[in-house]
Symmetry: C2
Subunit: 205 residues, 2 copies
């Protein structure tokens, strides 16, 4: 039996991506073979090569599928006009990401793959640039939010919004890295939200 229907094919494609995620996680991207992925997906390499050019393409599709929406959501939380004050918005944007990592296995695994199961070399060097660009974007949003906080007169410190934004961004980067590395959850995961609130409280008047 071959030549499935279009829906079947789309499903196969999805299963290959999911299989890749599982194998990347346990073996690392570099040591993952297309044969590994195919076997995990219950197909042969023929199917994999039909749907994707190579391993790199699978990686990028897998990443974009989950990552791009996340960035958008963080943006939204930071810029949306609801009742919260600016500091609360910053706090929420970070807490939401952590919450997402806790609830969404797919996202958690992709984060883990990207942080400690992938080597940013050759074709993957561009991904690094994307990460840096995204960081600049987030920092920019933080800065705007801190500027609003300053206007709202809820800041305890006299530092510039940019300075505060950079510090917050570095804190959050560190938190995400540690969150991922702390697989058993005993060090950071269980108190991630509290650490965020603490970080924000440090700046609240």
């Amino acid at each position: 039996m071959v030549r499935k229907t279009k829906e079947d094919a789309a499903l196969t494609r999805q299963r290959i991506i999911a299989a890749a995620r599982a194998v990347f996680l346990t073996r690392g991207v570099s040591h993952t073979t297309l044969e590994h992925i195919a076997a995990q997906a219950g197909v042969t390499r023929g199917a994999v090569y039909w749907h994707f050019k190579n391993k790199t393409e699978i990686f990028h599709v897998m990443r974009d599928h989950v990552f791009l929406p996340l960035i958008d959501r963080m943006d939204d939380t930071l810029t949306l006009e609801d009742g919260d004050d600016a500091l609360t918005q910053i706090e929420k944007s970070m807490c939401e990401t952590i919450h997402e990592l806790n609830e969404n296995i797919e996202m958690r695994q992709i984060y883990e793959i990207m942080m400690i199961k992938c080597e940013y070399v050759g074709e993957f060097a561009t991904v690094l640039q994307q990460i840096l660009d995204n960081c600049s974007n987030i920092t920019g949003k933080f800065e705007l939010a801190y500027a609003r906080a300053k206007d709202q007169n809820i800041l305890s410190s006299t530092h510039t919004p940019l300075a505060l934004a950079l510090d917050t961004h570095l804190f959050f980067s560190g938190l995400l890295h540690m969150w991922v590395k702390d697989a058993d959850g005993s060090r950071f995961r269980f108190q991630a939200t509290e650490l965020i609130k603490l970080h924000i409280n440090l700046r609240r008047k």
Copy 2:
């Protein structure tokens, strides 16, 4: 000509390690072949296999050679009894690490390899545990320093030393990651020291 003197052999060994570092940096650990390393060192795989069991061993030796001393030095700065107040000690310990990264090419490259050119899978999973342990250690030292700062009455916030220590550690982790990723230096490297001072000033009364 074979069978060099003992000094020659030790030199060969060192050159293999240096070669591995260079190749790891450009190709990533996984995609690095012992042939690559040997060629870069100007020897054959025979020499490599004589000095080391395999690629993993080279990696560990390379890492320990530079990494363990760094950890000790950071410890020292944080616990040493000189004239500085506790907050200045924390600041200095971080600035010194950054300074070391700026000046010491070897260390900078190894940091880069460990952060974005290595997959923590299989045999390398233990390294991840070591990193976590080291983080706990650093956080502990920060906590003690913040406790001293509290005694010295130079803290602006009323948070616990542990909370402050965790926040600082996450900040520093994020900074190191960004420092490494920011290869052209336009985003973080040029202002790393200022970011550290800013972070500390946030807590100084």
